[in-house]
């Protein structure tokens, strides 16, 4: 048994773990846990900032902007003002529609915020002016709204897209991508839906003495869907029959009879041009310009070659669920696309990935991990010169152990790995080797002291650790205290920086424990008492003699 009564927590920890066989297993477990956390923790480039808010859209057809302001925007703003936690209210009064956007203070829980907004609007539905249509409450949702991957689909030959075909193919693909784990919202941008376009010639219309209204009615009266009808037989069996929609293809539309003229029917095709086309009233178009390198999927040099002629395109945007790993989701999406590449090519459709936040996040995280490793190496080399090889090795081991603990704690508290988390690590790196340096230096000094030979190695290690416990604790506490107020910084920047006050104190506390537990333990395994006597430690003699 170690014959020394430690006074400080430092010595107590050192004593408890010094001869314990589980210490090595604990160390290994910590590092493995840290490594697993590093691998499975959701990665993203920037930390998530919880911005809550939403828009209330109230259409009121026929009202001018000034009217909308008075009857919709002003009263609605006053009502929404009653909600607690709202930071700003933005009102927009336009012809025919009033929009009120609310932005909550940062840190307001999203679910509560949305509910409060919805609640307030619904409570006051009876106060809506006459003539308004059902108000729309649309909460913002960053995770779901910001796509992490966007893919542009384009026609391989020529520049004009066959939207009909493309729409059908991409829609089917969208369904498959949506089925991937953790994919949230997917949207199509620049897509045009198929529709039957009926373009009426005004001259012919007046020639047949017809009006637009008549044509509209004629179409509506034919294109009806009726549910199946059930009838019963005499012996109570069901007979089911349905009326088929009269319009199946473009010819059916052409052959709609609009009116009778001089006893003969006038067909729709007589007064209008009818075709199956795209919804050209939707003015949103998307185009794509890219270099040959990008089109060929050259990852190294996507800027190789000339720009190929501009193409019409449809962009599929893919967002992920909150708190999931952007890297994994992006990879899965890429895999699904790859599987369908040949099929798409057969239909003459090519695709390029135009945004990949997963890759960006992975790159940012990996780059910073390299920085971290490199920094640890530099510090280790410096310590070899200052303290010696074995001592340096012990300190160098303590760094991954501390980072592993911090990572694991960050993982179980639901944080993600992002740029700021890693900067918190880099920031704490200079601080957290300190505890280990102080302990190892004191051990080093004790080993070379005059009375080292008289003492047991174990006692010496525990004593050396215990001795510096109190001031190291206070010094570390001082640094932790500087980080505490930072956690209360508000606003966007506060949320953005939050990983620093969250992780640096954890890393510092971990550094104390690692220094007190593993430094003496490794010291026992690696360090030996020097054979020869040192004589240049006179200064400290007084302190060694208790």
């Amino acid at each position: 048994m170690i014959n020394y009564q430690p006074k400080d927590i430092a010595g107590k920890l050192a004593k408890a773990f010094l001869k314990n066989p589980l210490t090595a297993i604990l160390g290994a477990t910590l590092i493995i846990l840290g490594y697993i956390s590093l691998m499975v923790m959701p990665r993203e480039e920037d930390p998530q900032i919880a911005i809550s808010g939403g828009a209330v859209i109230v259409p009121i057809p026929g009202a001018t902007a000034a009217e909308v302001e008075k009857v919709i925007v002003n009263p609605l703003e006053r009502k929404l003002r009653e909600i607690k936690g709202i930071k700003h209210i933005y009102g927009m009064a336009m012809d025919n529609v009033g929009i009120v956007n609310v932005v909550y203070k940062i840190g307001e829980r999203r679910e509560d915020a949305n509910l409060k907004l919805y609640d307030k609007v619904m409570q006051n539905m009876n106060k809506m002016p006459k003539g308004t249509m059902q108000p729309l409450v649309k909460p913002f949702d960053i995770d779901i709204d910001i796509p992490i991957v966007t893919v542009a689909f384009y026609p391989k030959d020529g520049s004009k897209a066959n939207y009909e075909e493309m729409y059908r193919t991409i829609r089917a693909l969208q369904q498959k991508i949506n089925a991937i784990d953790n994919v949230a919202k997917t949207t199509l941008k620049g897509a045009h839906k198929p529709q039957f376009n009926v373009e009426v010639d005004m001259g012919k219309l007046s020639a047949y003495n017809l009006s637009m209204g008549q044509i509209m009615k004629a179409i509506q009266s034919v294109a009806v869907d009726v549910p199946d009808v059930k009838g019963r037989t005499k012996d109570n069996k069901l007979i089911i029959f349905g009326v088929k929609n009269a319009i199946e293809n473009v010819d059916d539309v052409k052959n709609i009879i609009v009116a009778q003229y001089m006893g003969s029917p006038i067909y729709l095709r007589d007064v209008a041009k009818i075709e199956r086309g795209i919804d050209y009233q939707n003015f949103k178009d998307a185009y794509l310009d890219m270099r040959e390198g990008k089109a060929k999927g050259d990852k190294e040099k996507p800027n190789r070659g000339k720009f190929i002629p501009q193409k019409e395109q449809v962009t599929l945007t893919i967002a992920k669920l909150a708190g999931t790993n952007a890297v994994f989701v992006a990879k899965d999406v890429e895999k699904v696309l790859e599987e369908h590449k040949a099929e798409l090519a057969k239909k003459g459709i090519g695709y390029v990935i135009t945004r990949d936040y997963g890759e960006r996040a992975n790159e940012a995280v990996n780059e910073l991990m390299q920085h971290l490793m490199f920094t640890i190496l530099i510090i280790a080399i410096m310590l070899i010169f200052a303290l010696g090889f074995k001592e340096s090795l012990i300190v160098t081991f303590s760094v991954p152990a501390i980072l592993a603990i911090t990572l694991f704690i960050a993982y179980i508290t639901g944080q993600t790995i992002n740029r700021i988390t890693l900067f918190a690590f880099l920031l704490s790196l200079g601080l957290l080797v300190d505890a280990a340096i102080i302990v190892i230096e004191n051990i080093h000094r004790h080993l070379h002291a005059h009375d080292a030979d008289k003492k047991d190695m174990e006692v010496l290690l525990v004593e050396a650790t215990d001795e510096i416990g109190a001031p190291t604790n206070v010094a570390t506490l001082a640094i932790i205290l500087t980080m505490v107020p930072m956690a209360f910084v508000g606003g966007m920047m506060g949320s953005f920086m939050k990983p620093i006050p969250l992780n640096v104190p954890v890393a510092l506390i971990a550094s104390l424990f690692v220094a007190y537990i593993f430094t003496p333990y490794l010291g026992l395994k690696l360090l030996k008492k020097p054979k020869h006597k040192h004589s240049h430690h006179k200064k400290h003699e007084n302190k060694e003699s208790k």
Binding site: V73, M94, T317, F496
Partner: protein, 575 residues
């Protein structure tokens, strides 16, 4: 050697005085570097990214063909850039939402006069030119050649924000009651911003005035011709805009298929943009009344040319028009202050009474205008990145003071002496000299402006803890020498600072090496530089300045009032 130096200083009153004076002079000089613009402050510097976007806004009422034409011009210029791999143009719509677009309202874009281009660049590691430098270089070319294509067009080049996104670097909210006056004032504000140096992409966030024609249904005539107002409205819309009048579900299709009814393009094309052309066209349109007779549209509506009513914007229940602008690779603080001075002069010249916002708050740059003729008041409020910057610096400043108080309390608990705690605190505060000078040096050696940022402040706060630890260990060591060995005070302090020099330097080198890679990062460079230069300053402060203060402090003396405060064994840390 250090021991001798410190001992010499401590033994001479003039030298001690000199050390204190020099330190204070250094402090004052370094702090003065901020108002002297030698070190520039900014919330976060530009960040080199692999992408940027271009927003094209043609005037309200422009067609998508016009918008496409301007966008195409931008794309043609960008095609000459070697580092651009691909571009996606979205007409009438925003690019897929990103961080920048989130607060700039990109998701709300839904009209023919807007377009956005997503520009993807090669990997930033292999690319020489930083994206924000590239944007800054391209901006004048693009604006000069493409904006004139459609008069009133505004083209903005949007960079990815390094930190939290804001509406724009510079946002002026023109607030008041009179709508017309607000329009007028916002144009004046935009004029001033446009002539301010380094301010680019000025845009007034309100609809541009444009002419439109109003068809006023003549209720009397409509009723007499056996029609209804609803019918008239619907038919006009149907004819020119078109409507999906029926749907068809199909098992073979991806979704419902609509039957879209409208006039044939040739039938609905107007000859010119004039009242006459509109009248001509409408006269050939017929409506059928209940009796089955056709009535010409022009017979039942009156046509008038009017100015389109612009959208009315509110913020926090007040009418407001935003004027936004970006800064060209520069902190928004300095152009903003220049613009503000110019505005005060400009509005005074226009006859307004201009008052500054009294007191210090995050709205302290606001201007109050009073129209002398009507007595109405208007407010020019600075929002955007400036507000966020002020809020952040205020919060971080408060966090800093909080950290000071917490450390002070901790030290008082540990030492049971206010004087000693004060010394430690003063010592750690002085690392600000290093932080500011470090930024100045960093600015000198880098090609881009190196800003004092929010991350620098975070670094400074962290430094407080680090340098207070240095002083703490120094005081502990000196005390233990005096108590246990009975050394004379001055000699003990000198010995302590000499022997502590190695471990202090060792930890300092660890911090400097640890932060060296940080310093090269655009966003966290401030933190890295603050840590490196602050640590260097902290080493000097704790080895020379703190000993002087210790010597002057009575709390260091050992007498009956200051008994040995704890076991000397606790504090013999290193040799």
């Amino acid at each position: 050697m250090l021991e001798k130096l410190v001992y010499n200083i401590l033994n001479s009153k003039t030298k001690k005085f000199l050390v204190i004076v020099l330190t204070l002079v250094a402090l004052v000089l370094s702090v003065l570097m901020i108002p002297a613009d030698l070190v520039k402050a900014r919330m976060l510097p530009g960040k080199s990214a692999n992408t940027f976007s271009v927003y094209v806004d043609t005037p309200t009422g422009s067609s998508k063909e016009q918008t496409k034409k301007v966008s195409q011009c931008v794309i043609d210029i960008l095609k000459k850039e070697k580092e651009i791999t691909d571009m996606e143009l979205y007409v009438g719509d925003g690019i897929p939402l990103d961080y920048a677009g989130l607060v700039k309202g990109a998701g709300m874009k839904n009209s023919e006069n807007v377009a956005e281009i997503a520009v993807n660049l090669t990997n930033k590691h292999t690319r020489k030119e930083k994206s924000f430098v590239m944007v800054s270089r391209l901006r004048p070319t693009i604006k000069a050649s493409c904006e004139p294509l459609v008069k009133g067009t505004v083209i903005k080049l949007i960079e990815q924000p390094a930190g939290p996104p804001t509406l724009a670097s510079i946002v002026v909210e023109v607030t008041g009651d009179d709508l017309n006056k607000l329009q007028e004032l916002s144009h004046e504000v935009a004029k001033v911003l446009k002539r301010t140096k380094k301010v680019v992409d000025v845009d007034i966030m309100s609809d541009d005035p444009y002419k439109k024609y109003e068809l006023i249904p003549n209720k009397d005539k409509i009723a007499r011709s056996g029609l209804s107002v609803e019918q008239v409205n619907k038919i006009i819309y149907l004819a020119f805009e078109g409507m999906v009048v029926a749907h068809k579900n199909s098992k073979n299709e991806a979704g419902q298929i609509g039957i879209f009814l409208t006039l044939e393009p040739n039938s609905k094309r107007f000859d010119t943009r004039s009242l006459e052309a509109l009248k001509n066209k409408l006269s050939s349109m017929n409506l059928m009344n209940k009796k089955g007779m056709l009535v010409s549209l022009t017979e039942v509506v009156d046509i008038k040319e009017v100015n389109a009513k612009p959208m009315i914007m509110h913020k926090d229940l007040r009418r407001m028009i935003n004027v936004i602008a970006e800064t060209d690779n520069e902190s928004q603080v300095y152009p903003l202050l220049a613009a503000r001075d110019d505005m005060i002069k400009h509005f005074k010249k226009l006859g307004y009474k201009v008052e500054k916002e009294p007191g210090i708050s995050t709205y302290m740059f606001d201007l109050h205008l009073t129209d002398p003729k009507t007595g109405k008041k208007y407010l020019l409020r600075w929002d955007g990145e400036m507000k966020v910057t002020l809020d952040t610096f205020r919060d971080l400043g408060a966090a800093f003071i909080g950290a000071l108080i917490l450390i002070f309390l901790l030290l008082v608990v540990y030492y049971k002496s206010f004087a000693l705690s004060g010394i430690v605190l003063a010592g750690s505060f002085l690392s600000i000299i290093g932080v500011i000078v470090g930024h100045w040096v960093a600015d000198l050696v880098t090609t881009d402006t190196f800003f004092l940022t929010a991350t620098s402040l975070i670094g400074f706060i962290a430094l407080m803890g680090i340098s207070s630890r240095n002083s703490l260990l120094l005081i502990d060591f000196a005390k233990s020498l005096m108590e246990a060995k009975g050394m004379e005070k001055k000699r003990a302090i000198a010995t302590a600072s000499a022997t502590r020099a190695k471990p202090i330097a060792l930890t300092a080198v660890a911090i400097i090496l640890g932060s060296a890679l940080l310093a090269s990062d655009p966003v966290f460079g401030g933190l890295g530089v603050a840590l490196i230069s602050g640590t260097v300053a902290a080493v000097f402060v704790s080895l020379i300045f703190v000993p002087v203060l210790m010597d002057n402090s009575k709390a260091m003396d050992i007498d009956d009032e200051n008994p040995i405060h704890h076991d000397p064994n606790d504090i013999s840390i290193t040799r």
